[in-house]
Amino acid sequence: MNTVANQPPEIQKEESMLLQKAMISANYDALATAHEDGKKISSTFVPGNLNELLMCFDFVRNLPEINALQAGMRKKSAGYIMEAERSGHSEDVCTYVKSDLGMMAKGQVGPNGKTLPVPDILLLSYTGCFTFMKWFELVRDQYDCETTMLHVPYQANGEITENMRNFVVTQLKEQVIPALERVSGVKFDIDRLREYMIESARAEDDLVWVLESAKNKPSPIDAYFGGVYYCGPIFTAFRGSEDTTAYYRALREEVADRIARGLGPVTPDGVLEEERIRLVVEGPPNWTHFREFWKMFYEEGAVVVASSYTKVGGVYDFGFRHDPKNPLESLADYCLGCYTNHNLSSRVNMLCDYMDEYEADGFLVNSIKSCNSFSAGQLLMLREIEERTGKPAGFIETDLVDPRYFSPANVKNRLESYFQMIEQKKTRGDARTAA
């Protein structure tokens, strides 16, 4: 059953999505001409990205995961992955890595059709994902540029110890910042960092407000498919900028307006009319069939009210904010606190909290072949969450950017069965309550 009002011919987008698209395009344009403009380029990862710090040195920021994601959405990743596999990369490993390497091998053309220049520095933020370390060794192998490593210890016992924090701060002081100064030629100014962090904290407040708006019924947002747009600026090259603060303020106002009007999320086919199922989703989305995947949910009136993927570039809804009073320690805590840097118990607790606070009807895992950081252990997490919450759990398998691992018929079949199971359980529950 389609619960979407009026089927407009064109894909519907929120104002904030258009704003974000403009920011991303501008960044790709800035990357393309950075060297002609006399600017230096940094390349770094989403989890544990030190955007405020990089801005202190005037770097134009490139994020290889975002390039791979964009390639996936533009149906280019399959060719890139094949190219990487032809040159000896295993079919078993992360497809983000192979998409990135394949893109480099095919002329390093960015999503805007312009050549991405060679970065001047690789900032390896080794946070929550082992593959990052190898990815940057592989990228370094292709380029002749400086690499600086930031090892972020894993929160194995669900806490940040002083030793972990000190380790990260010392690396920042002794190695990362000097390398950034050396490559950029800009002297580090801690007050400049503080200014950016003030902006970050403002944007983070608004992002959390938006994410928590999903506690409303109906939820005004989809916290997974829409959520990836909402967290885009703050997870990537923009956190700490005034533009980003403005973006989140605009987004908040947009969502507040939807709440006031009792509207559901905006989907590519328009505003969702009827919210029938509320879900918490664990794991990244698939990018190669993003809209088709999303449609499988909204066609059934399923709305994601909370997701773990929107915490991968920073967990803000449990209180953390970038703190200008303790800038380096705060950067350390940010890195240490990214979602996949949490142990499984913490992840289970977090997801159970979401199930409860967002009054979800079910818990769904989208298990990604490429991403062991997320995926290893998800079947046990699923059982734990099902047992603790008493809500039905579902499991599907796709991939990030390898279309060979997205089987639409299988995924749709599984989702439909799962949604039916949820509805039956809800009906039984409602009947019992009425009796």
Binding site: G88, V93, M149, P153, L380
Partner: protein, 408 residues
């Protein structure tokens, strides 16, 4: 033939047979330890003293000296191999995840790891890291620790972090065992492990010099025995093996000399190692049981023992796919040096299916080898791989090609 000659003839035969039997007994003993998925020898060790405790650890590296100094037995848990029927373990993992965590879970669920009082999970990859969390959820009534090691190799940065992590490990094991780990105890343990490292170096040097004498499947079993035996027993076992194997002369085959790489975590079936040798390759270096070879030099036995262990890790530990190589120019250099030092003629990359570290690293290592004109071949395996014919054919073709190039 006079009586004296007859006597000498039979004496020689009987003596040779006795020697071979002594050698066979050592290898058979190791084979039994390898086959014993119930860890009977760990149970026997625990029964040998009141309140004895055993701590399991996954492959690659943990500082076993600290476990030993706490009066506990470090036990290497290396999956279930090709003899374990994995029934429960598969229910915990998607098809695209390697085999070792599922067989390890199987070992635990079937009660085979009940003899362990705790588990350490070294930082190998995301799968083993997350396995530590699964252990916390499923077997959290026992001591569970993810053992993070620094990827920063500056003594004042990574070294400081690691030293504190070692102190925390000491504190936790002291709490578990109810026994203080004194500096004196730890120094004594370091000394015992230094002896073990020396014996292992001797074994590897011997194989490198005369690979027809030290067959790799035997060396593997000897090394595996060290995962369950007390360190002093293992050191003696290595020495006995070397002494016995030196007494006999094994036939020298026209094999090529290879280094094998990628076996640091999920273990190869024994049949795979036999197949490589049968295909015409003498293995002259490998990355088996790195925990025993991680520190490339002896650890000083004077001064602060924790700091000594930490400094050893930072300054002279082995290079493997689980580690970051800070300088681009050094990537693959460790493997190239191993080829040179051991006069190998090629490298066989044997990587477990879905092993991120090994498979992501492989193209970079291959590039380093190509730059030096060192030939290589690559295949994948799983710990329960049963069909060895393709591997034998590939290794055989590789050996033939090396011989042909050498002749040219």
């Amino acid at each position: 033939m006079d009586l004296k000659q007859v006597f000498r003839y039979y004496y020689t035969i009987i003596w040779q047979r006795a020697l071979i039997m002594a050698l066979d007994e050592i290898v058979e003993h190791c084979q039994q330890l390898y086959d014993d998925l119930d860890f009977s020898c760990v149970k026997r060790w625990k029964e040998g003293g009141n309140g004895r405790k055993a701590i399991g650890h996954m492959p690659v590296y943990v500082p076993r000296e600290i476990i030993h100094a706490a009066g506990m037995l470090p036990v290497g848990i290396l999956g279930g191999g090709d003899q374990l029927d994995v029934i429960h373990g598969d229910a915990y993992y998607q098809s695209y995840i390697c085999r070792i965590p599922r067989s390890t879970i199987e070992l635990a669920i079937t009660g085979r790891l009940d003899c362990l009082d705790g588990m350490l999970f070294p930082s190998i990859c995301d799968v083993i890291r997350n396995l530590s969390g699964m252990w916390q959820l499923k077997f959290g009534n026992k001591f569970v620790r993810y053992f993070d090691v620094p990827q920063n190799f500056d003594l004042d940065i990574g070294g400081v972090f690691y030293t504190r992590e070692l102190e925390v490990l000491c504190e936790e094991l002291e709490a578990l065992g109810g026994k203080k780990i004194t500096a004196e105890n730890l120094r004594a343990s370091i000394a015992l492990y230094n002896e073990n490292r020396q014996a292992i170096r001797q074994l590897y040097d011997y194989r490198s010099a005369e690979p027809w004498q030290v067959l790799t499947p035997e060396l593997y079993l000897i090394m595996r025995a060290g995962m369950v035996l007390p360190v002093d027993e293992h050191t003696q076992l290595i020495r006995d093996y070397i002494a016995e194997v030196r007494k006999i002369e094994r036939p020298v085959r026209d094999n090529c000399r290879v280094v094998i790489n990628g076996l640091f975590c999920e273990q190869p079936p024994l049949g795979l190692l036999k197949s490589i040798e049968l295909a015409g390759c003498y293995v002259v270096d490998d990355d088996f049981m790195l925990v025993a070879r991680w520190l490339l030099e002896d650890v000083p036995t004077d001064g602060d023992p924790i700091k000594n262990l930490s400094d050893a890790f930072i300054n002279y530990s082995i290079e493997t796919s689980c580690k970051f190589v800070p300088e681009k120019k050094n990537k693959g250099e460790f493997l190239v040096q191993s080829v040179r030092r051991n006069r190998a003629e090629g490298v066989i990359f044997a990587s477990p299916s879905f092993c991120d570290p090994a498979l992501l690293d492989r193209p970079m290592l291959q590039k380093a080898l190509s730059a030096q004109g060192i030939p290589y071949t690559a295949f994948k395996f799983a710990e329960n791989s049963g069909q060895m014919q393709p591997i034998r054919e590939q290794a055989g073709t590789f050996a033939d090609s090396i011989k042909l190039w050498s002749a040219a």
